[in-house]
Amino acid sequence: MEICRRNDEIEISELDPFLAELLRQIPASANPEGTPAAEKRLFSPPTSGTETEICAEWKLYVEPELRRLFQTATETVAADLEQLNGNEKKIASTLRIPSKHADAWLSALNQAMVFFKNLSCANWVVGRRVPGIRPASVPAPLT
């Protein structure tokens, strides 16, 4: 794998298919939906909890804005990653990221890191969470 900067672009060439597949999973991994711990960390309260009025206002006005910001970042990354789709037989091995998308990449990678850090128990099959597997802290329903 080679990383170099070319004309306002960051070029990652000779990408290993496994690494390419990992990169392709970033947008899905950054989505905290269904993982309350990750959701709680991504949208943490602005105070230590004593200022309830500020927290309520935050939830109403700031949280949706942050949600949009995170979503825009993952969408930008997903669009860049489409270069790796290649054809059915072969995944393309070069990824060109415009320098102006660097912040979106930082955000999406960080979101994914937050997600993994807060994942206490989940099962993954080729980068996808298996539905029905819940974090250890959530008890299974009694049958």
Binding site: L42, P46, T47, L66, L69, L106, N110, V114
Partner: protein
């Protein structure tokens, strides 16, 4: 004790013509009501204490990333940003800024946008 000379006397001494307006001179006491002063009580704490932007330690973010965010959000030079980053790393928290609540809220929002664990609190 010498009384101060009237301004008309001074003018005469300096040979200056003075026009007087008797109505002004004989004006009675002012009829404007005294302003009513309302007392508003606010605790000293509310008035004086600034709000602090506190960043908490977080095992997710890389040290270089945190330094970069401090530089971007607060415009701090690299050395100062690194000092705060290390304080967060070693002490668990660092006060990055203090001042008006609105600005503190804006800073916390920006820090959350960069996925840093930040809160605002009243200075104690």
């Amino acid at each position: 004790m010498n009384a101060e000379p009237l301004w008309e006397e001074v003018a005469m001494a300096k040979n200056v013509t003075v026009t007087t307006f008797p109505i002004w001179r004989n004006a009675g006491p002012s009829t404007v009501d005294k302003p009513t002063i309302k007392k508003e009580t606010r605790s000293k704490e509310n008035l004086d204490l600034p709000w602090q932007v506190v960043v908490h330690n977080d095992p997710v973010n890389l040290m270089t990333y945190v330094t970069m965010v401090f530089q971007r959000v607060f415009g701090y030079p690299r050395e100062k940003a690194e000092r705060h980053m290390l304080e967060v790393h070693h002490e668990g928290r660092s006060v990055l800024w203090s001042g008006m609540r609105e600005r503190a809220e804006l800073y916390v929002q920006q820090l959350h946008g960069y996925l840093l664990l930040a809160t605002l609190e009243k200075a104690s």
